[in-house]
């Protein structure tokens, strides 16, 4: 009797145990290990020792702040482009999609069935200086012979936008889809013009979707290194590329860890400020939805 009661009380905790174990083993422990690594000194051959060398953080920032700032700017531009491109697409599918909604959403997700890297490499192929797009244009002298897109900021931001736009479209679509058609009719009934109905009713009600989309787009875009390394040149290095180089090429694990923490901290602080300013409730509402 007592035992059964005890089991009943423990059951919820036992059920979440696998989840907690997973988080502890694959997230908490690596983060602590990385935090520890970030203040160590030494090299790969002699081994790293814990010396609480916080100087790594300062060195990292001094050496790579250009890449940090560039990552934030590229991520921000890509996010804004995602809103500009994604909102109308989401709106169209939600309100004009009719019975084809599911097919349209499937088409949107179709590129995801191809590996991320392969998709970026195909953009490299298409945008190559003498590739299938630029060569014909150069042949008929529409573009000068030395014109190029690869290894420019445009290519990198374009790549980021292309890769993350579905993460913007989906939450906005969900938010728009949840608006009852009668609510929009009510706005019209109460003398709102189409523009006023959008501004006063549809846009505010879709904002939680935009908030969620910004989070899902900005964070991975700012931390991305694949687009910059494949579509960018030496002047488009993002912080992700720096971390990758420090880790794999220079085997400077402490520096790579310190940079990762700076990036993580910066993004977390940014997200908190963002949620605070634009309303935590909406962001949380959306996360729950």
């Amino acid at each position: 009797m007592v035992r059964r009661k005890l089991m009943g009380r423990l059951a919820p905790y036992l059920l979440v145990l696998p989840g907690w174990l997973w988080l502890v083993i694959f997230f908490v422990i690596p983060v602590i290990a990385m935090l520890s690594l970030s203040t160590q000194t030494g090299d790969l051959i002699d081994g790293f020792t814990q010396t609480f060398h916080w100087q790594n953080y300062l060195d990292g920032w001094n050496e790579y702040h250009v890449e940090f700032i560039r990552s934030v700017i590229y991520g921000a531009i890509a996010t804004i482009l995602c809103i500009v491109i994604g909102y109308p697409v989401a709106y169209w599918i939600a309100f004009r999609g009719g019975h084809r909604k599911s097919s349209l959403l499937f088409l949107l997700l179709l590129p995801f069935f191809v590996s991320f890297v392969i998709r970026v490499v195909s953009w490299q192929f298409m945008l190559a200086d003498n590739g299938i797009i630029l060569e014909p244009l150069k042949a008929i002298h529409l573009l000068p012979a030395d014109f190029h897109i690869l290894a420019t900021a445009t290519a990198v931001v374009g790549g980021l936008t292309y890769n993350f736009v579905p993460f913007m479209i989906l939450p906005i679509y969900v938010a728009l889809e949840r608006i009852h058609p009668e609510v929009m009719e009510a706005a019209g009934d109460l003398y709102a013009t189409r523009r006023a109905a959008f501004r006063r009713v549809v846009l505010p009600l879709s904002m939680p979707g935009v908030f969620a989309g910004v989070l899902l787009t900005f964070v991975p875009a700012a931390a991305d290194y694949v687009n910059a390394s494949i579509l960018g040149g030496t002047d488009q290095t993002m912080i992700g590329n720096v971390i990758e180089t420090e880790y794999f090429t220079n085997t400077n694990y402490p520096m790579a860890s310190a940079l990762s923490f700076i990036l993580m901290a910066a993004l977390l602080i940014g997200v908190f400020i963002y949620a605070k300013v634009l309303g935590t409730r909406e962001v949380l509402d959306m996360a729950v939805a």
């Binding site: 009668e182 009719e185 009510a186 009934d189």
Partner: protein
């Protein structure tokens, strides 16, 4: 209080017994007129007429209901008046002006939606103020009128709540206030009480009716609930499969249904199809057994001829039960009681006629609680010939 619609001579009572959907009496102005309104969905051979060639006159200041089963076209008709659907044919006259093609925001009518359709991101105050703000009414005026409106629907002090923090009945009132504040020439209500539970629905019926009297605005009310339509309306229309069955006051609809459908849809009915033995002027004398008598007055208008068939109904409360034939001019039929259900205020009898037809009879328990007949008893049904109602077949 709010005085918006033009003064009405008498918005509630009006001449009963006028021809259904007939020309408007000169003393009451027409608020809304539908002229040969048709709405087809789909194209080509698969087109379905949701509303088929409907003519309707709704008078200024009346509480008018569109009643019918789901799919009868009542909501589509309402949405065409509101401008949310465009008719495929015909004219919609709002105060004499054809509004076909005019978008909802340019029409002087407002709608209370079935889902209420409140703006979830706005406070009660901003919901109610929405229409005034779009019309750029001054801030102080908005404040005053919203206050008045919330008082009318008994929501004082709730102005800062969000719709999600209100009960269903309160949301309903916000929806009503949000539409009424614009002082529309007509208010359209699409099954606004359907989502409420029975108790609340009955309270809101009374309240809605009293608000309508207070503001004097024309209400056009869609419902599939015949009780609701009977108790609230000044006049109503029964629709079926996209066309009008009958227009009239609740009393006319109940006491003198014109079609088999109306007789069956409103109240309990004893619908029978019987053969005509002979005609006496316009009165049809129906075939009966020995000693029985069944006559239907004014049957000639429905094409009754000797030897033909006629659809006839008698309301259950008009029938009496007795041990002897009623005699005289009275209709009188022999029957067997098959079931007796005591209902408190009245007792409901199921009886079977000699030809097998099943009828229902209500006997009021006015003087004593003794049942007038037992199950299995042989009885005589009697009623005044005026209550034999000939109705048009489908």
């Amino acid at each position: 209080m709010i005085t918006s619609a033009p003064e009405q001579a008498n918005p509630v009572g009006h001449s009963a017994g006028g021809p259904p959907a007939g020309p408007t009496p000169p003393e009451t102005a027409t608020a809304i007129e539908l002229v040969r309104i048709t709405k087809r969905f789909g194209t080509g051979s698969r087109a379905v007429a949701a509303v088929d060639d409907v003519n309707l006159v709704i008078r200024e200041g009346e509480f008018f209901s569109l009643l019918g089963p789901s799919g009868c076209g009542k909501t589509t008709t309402l949405r065409m008046i509101g401008g949310f659907e465009q008719p495929t044919g015909g004219e919609i006259l709002l105060h004499g002006k054809d509004v076909v093609g005019t978008p909802p925001n340019k029409r002087d009518v407002n709608m209370v939606f079935q889902s209420y359709a409140l703006f979830p991101h706005m406070s009660v105050f901003e919901n109610v103020a929405f229409g005034l703000r779009r019309k750029a009414v001054a801030g102080s005026e908005v404040k005053r009128r919203v206050g008045e409106m919330l008082e009318l629907v008994q929501l004082q002090g709730k102005d800062r709540r969000r719709p999600s923090q209100l009960s269903g009945g309160q949301q309903q009132r916000v929806a009503l206030a949000r539409a009424l504040i614009n002082r529309p020439r007509a208010l359209l209500l699409d099954e606004p009480l359907a989502a409420l539970d029975l108790k609340l629905r009955q309270t809101m019926q009374i309240e809605l009716k009293s608000i309508q009297r207070e503001v004097g605005i024309t209400f056009v009310f869609v419902t599939h609930d015949q009780n609701e339509a009977l108790t609230m309306s000044d006049r109503l229309v029964v629709m079926n499969e996209g066309h009008i069955e009958q227009v009239g006051s609740p009393r006319e609809m109940y006491e003198r249904p014109r079609t088999r459908f109306v007789a069956g849809f409103i109240g309990t009915s004893n619908l029978m199809t019987r053969s005509i033995a002979s005609m006496d002027g316009t009165t049809a004398i129906l075939e009966c057994g020995a000693g029985e008598r069944f006559v239907v007055r004014d049957a000639a208008a429905l094409g009754a001829v000797p030897g033909g068939k006629i659809d006839v109904t008698v309301r259950p409360e008009k029938i009496t039960l007795g041990t002897e034939p009623a005699g005289g001019e009275m209709c009188s039929l022999r029957a067997t009681v098959t079931n007796v259900v005591y209902m408190g205020a009245w007792t409901q009898y199921a009886v079977r006629l000699a030809d097998g037809a099943e009828l229902t009879v209500f006997i009021q328990n006015a003087t004593n609680s003794e049942d007038a007949a037992e199950r299995g008893a042989e009885v005589w049904l009697g009623w005044d010939p005026a209550h034999s109602l000939a109705v048009a077949p489908q």
